[in-house]
C-alpha cells in the first residue's frame, strides 16, 4: 500500500445538537462549515472539493437530500460527493475526504456531516421501519431497538456482565458532556438512575439510549504542504479503515463486532500501531447505546473480549484514567444526529490533539482513535489522528 501524501485536519466546526433545531439542513451545514473555515482562517474559494456525510433521506423526507444540502455545504460548482454507511457515516466522511487529498487529486477538502431527524413524525423510529428486509423480516414488524437489545443480551450473556457495569458508561458520558457546548443530554446521573429507568426493550432501558437529534459538524482537510501554510499544529490523519459484514445478522454471533476489528486493523496498520492499549492516548468509539461503547472498545482491540466493562468499572476510561474513552461525552451525552455524531467525535480528536478541548482536555494527548458504526450491525469505520 503506497500512500501518496500525508493529510491533515486544519479546522473544525460544530452546531448545537438538539431534538429539533430551527435551521434547515442547509443552514445547519452552513453554520458548521463556516465555523470550520473560520477556525482555519480560510475562505470557501480555497476549498477544492467537498464531502457530505448524511444518513437516511427518510428522516428529512427529502429524497436525494445530499443534493438539497449541497449549497449550504459549499458544494456549489465543486466536486461534491456523499458517502453513506448509516451510523458509520460520520467517521466515513473524513475517510472519503482523506482519499480526495491523499490521492493527490485535491489539495483541500471540506468534510461536512449533517442530520435533521426532526421532520419525520411522530418519531424517527418510523423511518427505521424500512431498514429491514421486506420479505424475511418486515412482516414481523420489528422495532429497531430490538436488534440492539438482542445484541446487548448476547454480549452480556456470553461474558456474564452485570447490567450495573454497563450503566456506568451512561454515567461517565453524560457527565463528560457537561463540558461540551453542543451537548443535548449532559447531566449528572447515577447507576441507580439508569437501573430504575423505564425498560424499553429488555435489557435496554431509557437511560441506555442516546436521543435523536438535529445537528451538523465539519472538518477542513489539507495536504501536508498546504496545511503548513495555515497552521503550526496540523492534526494528521495517520490511519483509515472500514469494513462491513453481511446483512444476514441472524446468521452471525452478535457478541463481538468482527467488522470493527477488521476496520481497526486496517487503520492501525497504516498508523503503525501494534499495541493499541498502550499506543493510543484516548478513543472515541461510537456509543449510541451504553453497551456499544464497551462492545466497540473490544472491537478496537483496546480491551480483551469481555474486559471492557471491567476497565470502565475500574475508572480506566475516565478522562483522567489511563485510557480515556469518549472524553467528549459521546452520543449519550452530546446527542445523536446520526452522521454528525460520528464527525463530532473527529472534531473532538482535533481539539484534543491541539490542546483546545478546554475542560474536556486529556493530558498529553498524542494519538486519538475515532470509530463509528451503523446499518444492520454491519459497518465499522475507524480513523487514527495524531498531533
Amino acid at each position: 500500500m503506497t500512500i501518496k501524501r500525508r493529510v491533515a485536519v486544519i479546522g473544525a466546526g460544530i452546531t448545537l445538537f438538539r431534538r429539533r433545531l430551527k435551521e434547515t439542513g442547509k443552514e445547519l451545514s452552513y453554520h458548521a462549515s463556516k465555523m470550520a473555515l473560520d477556525s482555519a482562517e480560510m475562505n470557501l474559494s480555497e476549498i477544492e472539493s467537498v464531502v457530505m456525510g448524511t444518513a437516511p433521506d427518510a428522516f428529512d423526507g427529502i429524497h436525494m437530500k445530499s443534493e438539497n444540502l449541497l449549497d449550504g455545504a459549499g458544494g456549489t460548482g465543486r466536486p461534491y460527493m456523499r458517502p453513506f454507511v448509516g451510523g458509520g457515516t460520520g467517521v466515513f466522511a473524513p475517510i472519503a475526504g482523506w482519499w480526495h487529498v491523499a490521492s493527490g487529486l485535491y489539495d483541500t477538502c471540506l468534510v461536512v456531516a449533517e442530520e435533521k431527524m426532526s421532520p419525520v413524525q411522530p418519531h424517527p423510529q418510523t423511518a427505521f421501519r424500512t431498514i429491514w428486509d421486506p420479505i424475511i423480516t418486515r412482516p414481523l414488524q420489528p422495532n429497531l431497538v430490538w436488534i440492539f437489545a438482542l445484541e446487548m443480551n448476547r454480549y452480556m450473556t456470553k461474558h456474564n456482565i452485570p447490567k450495573e457495569h454497563i450503566a456506568e458508561v451512561a454515567v461517565k458520558n453524560k457527565s463528560n458532556a457537561l463540558d461540551h457546548p453542543s451537548a443535548q443530554l449532559a447531566a449528572k446521573i447515577t447507576v441507580e438512575d439508569v437501573m430504575n429507568s423505564e425498560t424499553m426493550v429488555w435489557p435496554v432501558q431509557r437511560l441506555d439510549i442516546s436521543p435523536p437529534s438535529d445537528g451538523a459538524a465539519a472538518l477542513v482537510l489539507a495536504s501536508e504542504e498546504v496545511a503548513k501554510k495555515y497552521t503550526d499544529s496540523p492534526v494528521w490523519i495517520d490511519g483509515v479503515g472500514w469494513s462491513l459484514d453481511s446483512s444476514y445478522w441472524t446468521n452471525r454471533d452478535l457478541y463481538y463486532p468482527q467488522y470493527v476489528e477488521e476496520a481497526a486493523k486496517m487503520a492501525y496498520k497504516m498508523a503503525k500501531i501494534d499495541d493499541p492499549p498502550n499506543q493510543v492516548s484516548f478513543a472515541e468509539p461510537y456509543d449510541p447505546f451504553t453497551y456499544k461503547e464497551l462492545h466497540h472498545m473490544e472491537g478496537l482491540l483496546l480491551a480483551k473480549k469481555g474486559e471492557a466493562p471491567k476497565l470502565t468499572h475500574e475508572g480506566v476510561t475516565q478522562r483522567d484514567g489511563k485510557l480515556p474513552i469518549c472524553p467528549s461525552g459521546g452520543l449519550l451525552g452530546v446527542g445523536n444526529p446520526i452522521a454528525a455524531a460520528g464527525l463530532m467525535k473527529c472534531c473532538e480528536a482535533f481539539w484534543q490533539l491541539r490542546n483546545e478541548a478546554g475542560k474536556r482536555q486529556v493530558d498529553g494527548a498524542e494519538t486519538g482513535v475515532c470509530q463509528a458504526w451503523g446499518d444492520l450491525m454491519q459497518v465499522g469505520t475507524v480513523t487514527v489522528f495524531r498531533r
Partner: protein
Amino acid sequence: MMTMSEKMKEVPGIYLRDAELKAKDAITFKWRPNAKYVWAGGIAYSRYLEELKNGRIIGRHCSECERILVPPRMFCDKCFRATDEWVYVKDTGTINTYSVSYLDADANRIKEPILVAVIELDGASEGIGILHYVDPKVDPKDLHVGMRLKAVWKPEKERTGSVTDIAYFEPIKEG
C-alpha cells in the same frame, strides 16, 4: 490567538421547542409521500415462502464451506459462488439471543411485551438463526440463551406464504 475551546462558549443553532412548532402562527409544511411497494421474493425467498405455506422450513447448502443457510440464498455470501442444493431443516431450534420488547414497530409503549429471539434452527449450520417471536404466554424471566423451542404453525388455510405462517415458537417441554 484564541483557542477553539475559548471561542466555543456558544455554538451556532437555535433550539426549536415543541410549543413554538405547534404555535398558531408557526410556519410549517405537512406532507405524506405516496410511496407504495410490492417487493417480489426473488428466486430463493420465493421458494422459502412457498415452503412456509406448506408448513416446512427450507434452506440452501453450500458444498464449499459446508454450510446449510437459512434464510436460503442462491449464492453463498462467504464463498461467493452459487449454492448447490435445497435442504429442509427442522422447525425446532435453540435460542441464541432474545429480548423482551415494550415498544411496538412505531415506538409506542405497549403493556404486554413482545418476546422475540434469534433461533438457531436444528439442521442448519451452527450460528445460522432466524428472527421470530416466542410464545407470549412464556414468562420473560424463563427465557434464556440455550432454551429449546418448537415452531407453532398457523392452521393451513391461514397460511399465505409469509414468515408469519409460523405464529411463534414455544418451549419444548423437556421430558
